[in-house]
Symmetry: C2
Subunit: 489 residues, 2 copies
Amino acid sequence: MGRELYLYNTLTRSKELFEPVEPPYVGMYVCGPTVYSDSHLGHARPAITYDILYRYLMHLGYKVRYVRNITDVGHLENEADDSGEDRITKKARQENIEPMEVVQRYMNSFHRSMDLLNTLQPSIEPRATGHIVEQQEMISTIIEEGFAYEENGSVYFDVEKYNRSYPYGILSGRVLDEMKANSRVLEGQDEKHSPFDFALWKKASQAHIMKWSSPWSNGFPGWHLECSVMSTKYLGDVFDIHGGGMDLIFPHHECEIAQSTAANGKPSVRYWVHNNMITINGQKMARSLGNFITLDQLFSGNHPLLERAYSPMTIRFFILQAQYRGTVDFSNEALLSASLGLQKLMTAVKTLNSLKGSERSSIDISAIKEKCYEAMSDDLNTPVVLAHLFDGVRMINLVNDGRETLSEADLDDLKELFRTFVFDILGLKEEESSGNDLLSGVVEMVLNMRQEAKARKDWATSDRIRDELLKLGVNVKDRKDGFDWEIKH
Amino acid sequence: MGRELYLYNTLTRSKELFEPVEPPYVGMYVCGPTVYSDSHLGHARPAITYDILYRYLMHLGYKVRYVRNITDVGHLENEADDSGEDRITKKARQENIEPMEVVQRYMNSFHRSMDLLNTLQPSIEPRATGHIVEQQEMISTIIEEGFAYEENGSVYFDVEKYNRSYPYGILSGRVLDEMKANSRVLEGQDEKHSPFDFALWKKASQAHIMKWSSPWSNGFPGWHLECSVMSTKYLGDVFDIHGGGMDLIFPHHECEIAQSTAANGKPSVRYWVHNNMITINGQKMARSLGNFITLDQLFSGNHPLLERAYSPMTIRFFILQAQYRGTVDFSNEALLSASLGLQKLMTAVKTLNSLKGSERSSIDISAIKEKCYEAMSDDLNTPVVLAHLFDGVRMINLVNDGRETLSEADLDDLKELFRTFVFDILGLKEEESSGNDLLSGVVEMVLNMRQEAKARKDWATSDRIRDELLKLGVNVKDRKDGFDWEIKH
């Protein structure tokens, strides 16, 4: 923890120095997916954003407990419409299976996609259905504290009453009186005392499949409740970081703050971090617009909008090219360019590992490392980190071409820098299989033997090695001072 | 479902024709792991056994809902000792983390191993902590039915009372009166009315971390309860198949039957299927015997008892070489032989795909398919299936050698047969990645250069190649007529 980290806190609308409650421990909670359909582009951005934050915190020496939930209770598609089917039940009916099978299938699919994107697994992945008892306990506490009421077997959070004791709207900047002034609501049509109240527990209709017994009714918890419950259960009443997409600021996170504060008398989250959304060719992604792209479709290229397949690391690199609070627009041109950028970076890493040190350095690499840390510590400014790394790439190529030199010590520093930032912090990886290190080793060994053959003018051996490698699918290109090689695809 | 399937039912001690309650649907519940340490050999056998049953049922046309639980509540290491720590809590204390982090880590590790063994993911993987409400409901029902009593915040199942209404011991063949006659128990030392009673709910000590509120106490469910609850929740009051290891017959499955019968007035399982255990070099596997081998150790060869690494498919093939109710003894010799057998089978599959059809067949392959189905339908007799497939291998090799012929139609049938049994039903797969073929090619090329160096008595080059390969992790062993090589793990 020698280095400082500044994070933009949505709560204060400013970049703040990150100081955990109890260093070196850090508690981080991130809103995970509702598992009722395949993972899509919208899941990739928060997953990668908080993966980077997790990796960087660990790199800085913090011991991080990273909790990301799985929403496996089907919440109503339209909260205003009590009779509506929930998403998971609807999917279950469409596929003619049990809701928990829907949950399992798409949870597995989410995990596969996350592995492919090289995101680290969270320390704990709690499921909403795994915390029904705890959710009921929090409801009871909120009722006892006077901030919720029961109506016909359902329990609602009393926003107006809460707003008289605590500031409702502190995260989103919404003011309840203004919200009321701007809304036209027909009275008496709802169990809720006010249209801004929200459900903590919903009585289930006969047709509703996912339901549990409770002191109020056979029913199910409200959407916002699980995060208040599971974050504090695993991270304590007050914890460091809560992450999620900007679209969750209101109502989800606002309601989380209200619930936790109503139950514990104080807010639980110190730094609220929100990633921006993605667009596709400038448009919001939506099933109705025909531009809804799942991650599997991206990886396979199997979608009318995609000109080709884009590998998981290309997607990761592409997302890192923007700071997490900026927008990201997906297009074939942008993804192709990301793919080329990634390739250039990875080729440079390989070149770097084959460079030989000189007696002295003709260029100064010492500034790159500090600049990379500065950018990371400035609210995870990954595009700036990449820009500095590409300065390094330029230097690597100049040294490789013999136009500049680096000392052994500088070379070691540069290798360490790339290892740290490219692999550990940005979480990029080689996309070829693991047998490849050994393969590279053996190929380099053969090619060194070929260099020696050339040195002693044994052209027969030299040519034969080149030809045999070619037959095996390895292309050798001679350079003035050595060789390059690549596997033909 | 044109074909019949006979399964050995532990309940009736006989092979029975399998007839589901509601064809074409089949409900199958299998006891999964307690996730507090790395997956080991003992997990591989049931996973593969029920994977084969799942695959075969689907192949026969059934629509199977396969439920396998995750035990993520820490149960006491010694049920008799109420003060004892549970396994998950103990591990959490040892690793200085929260119990749910222990659960997450080892659940992830289990899933990775299961993927490597090519077992299909179950339809639903319910977790014990995800069904606390339902477990409390079943306890209430059992109390209402008069088969459980509360004592000091804990609830116990009343085995004697149950035994007066229903036959306790029907699965294991144990008779309560005999059990009582053979045991010496000091009275008055326990909350239980009888030593054969078992906990449905345990009041938690202050130190116990994983606990939930309940009508009886802050506590946790008894070990046997989750399976009664989760099996019937997802498969209905009466369902088709319940699987697990033979070591679970008593007390776990016996207690499951008692709980479900006490709650619903009838037993819930129609076919009880049990796989036999594994031994290592003739001994039971136990941490205390130093022969406890995790799956990761098997796959990497990183254990004093292992002479080399064994691939996941070698393990799978090895387990399939025994019928699931027979014992399996792991040894280096047996695994090596399995590895060679698998290789022979897979090579034959490749050869088969390259064979050309003749005008007529000189051998009769028509019987193999029927025999394979007969063996599978005879209580999943996989070793007999493999024997018949190796008859096919022999024929493939004879045809390849030009000593026999097969017509185009017979060839197609044989290909279909191998595809169906080797890949779909037995769930084997090719393990080499394409990178490995290239690696082999380059290593062989270098070693051929070494042979030439030796031929011209250029010992320096010969030694150098051997030494450099060794440094890269490739072990070369000279033979009289050539060389062997292997990758060190």
